[in-house]
Symmetry: C2
Subunit: 250 residues, 2 copies
DNA sequence: AAGTGGTCTAGACCACCGA
DNA sequence: CGGTGGTCTAGACCACTTT
């Protein structure tokens, strides 16, 4: 190749509307392969030189694509060893998506007790947020999450049943995102969260063993997979008397 | 230059302990110049070729440094025009640091009413969070922020007086970060936030014109300048009945 | 037309890792 | 030792913006 553009490979499409840089196309192609399960979480990708040869681009372009994916936490690069598909193990989720930390002391992952797990037609809100046709079947989970035996989060989750066949019959672990990845090939890549302060209703209060009217932090989260499909909606009601939600901006 | 390393420029230091990549050094040098006011917010930096010549590195290295700074929101790159020092105008702060948005409707920036602005010795908490010696003088501001005439945030701010000489005598605008940058040469580059749900005390309640015990979102934020010095601590008590705090992860 | 940043390529040397 | 990613350079062509 002499110099540029999404061109020059014999037989390539002649640069139509909506250009996308080559490295962007490489990134998307690699993501597609990961989504399709060509490389599993924790496994190494081929080397940059390999991928460059496979895809017919230069090593530098592959590198830029992998750097972008690394900054999105989709892969992990380790000097001298290789580039690995990111794992959704506890360690990772703990830092990336679980923002509740104790006011003092180490952060720890809560134990979860599932109180119910049933399939039902989606409510209007569920259908909208998960981009499903009205009344599509969803799985609804309610659980209590505790730290050191103390209930701190009451959580309601909604998932499209079609994406998680058989989930309602499974034993549910503390870290659901790990299960999604391991058993259903769905990795949570990003989330949107809306936070509010609310007063505990009597149901909330009894679930968390506090007085009704106690101030709770409500986290309303939609989780998206690698290809931006919404795959989970969860509303978490959190006791923040000894914990807080921590975030860094900029 | 033939190929690599923080070397080869005649007279350069002979690669000691704690290497830092050249592009990192270029980034830091450019940040220092911005901090020192060589280029003001909104102004264009010299072109990549210019900077490369000035600094004695290749254009590619300058580019990597500028790309890093762009991803940190320190500069803005505009194809065909140039690279500009980021501005801390309302537009920018609105999206980067102001995360409260209405449940429905457009996001808007609140009007602020300053109720008090006094200098005093730092409390223990202020001294610790702002990394000051005990009892260093600080400026303490209390203000109410309203949207469409409705009070929605009660906010207490603490700033080191040494960094903001004369601020307590100034007219304070709605967007303080713009003032910090414009009048004191201090840009807020990053923040750390801790969120909790709390019940309104009687003082909070009267300030926000709600019933005591109303659930409020407490945002405890420390803001850092370009060189990671803490320059502001603010605690915001937010009414989240018609608004929410929005964040995207991953 | 000239100048800017955006992309792509190619080749070099380095630090790190595992056999 | 050979292979990997990390960095640096140099030069090319592109799209965009302004003159």
């Amino acid at each position: 190749m002499s110099g540029s553009g999404p061109e020059e490979t014999p037989g390539a499409e002649p640069a139509e509307l909506g250009f996308r840089p080559l490295y962007r196309q490489v990134r998307d192609a690699l993501i597609r392969r990961i989504v399709d399960g060509a490389w599993l979480p924790g496994q190494p990708l081929p080397s940059e030189m390999q991928l460059a040869a496979d895809l017919g681009v230069s090593q530098g372009t592959v590198r830029k694509a992998l750097d972008a994916m690394a900054s999105e936490n989709l892969v992990v690069r380790r000097q001298g060893r290789g580039t690995y598909v990111a794992r959704h193990d506890d360690e990772r989720v703990l830092f990336q998506f679980f923002k509740l930390v104790p006011d003092e002391g180490e952060r720890s992952f809560p134990q979860s007790q599932v109180l119910s797990c049933i399939a039902a037609p989606a409510s209007a809100a569920e259908a909208e947020l998960l981009r499903l046709k009205p009344a599509t079947r969803i799985i609804r989970i309610f659980r209590i999450r505790s730290i050191e035996g103390r209930p701190v989060v009451a959580e309601t989750l909604s998932l499209p049943e079609a994406l998680f066949p058989g989930l309602s019959d499974m034993e549910l672990p503390n870290n659901l995102y790990g299960l999604y990845a391991m058993s259903f090939g769905l990795s949570v890549a990003s989330t949107t969260e809306k936070l509010k302060a609310v007063s505990a209703t009597s149901e909330d209060a009894s679930a968390l063993q506090v007085a009704p009217g106690t101030a709770l932090l409500e986290i309303d989260r939609v989780a998206f997979s690698l290809d931006q499909t919404p795959i989970e909606w969860r509303v978490s009601l959190c006791l923040t008397e000894t914990m807080h939600y921590e975030t860094h901006l900029g």
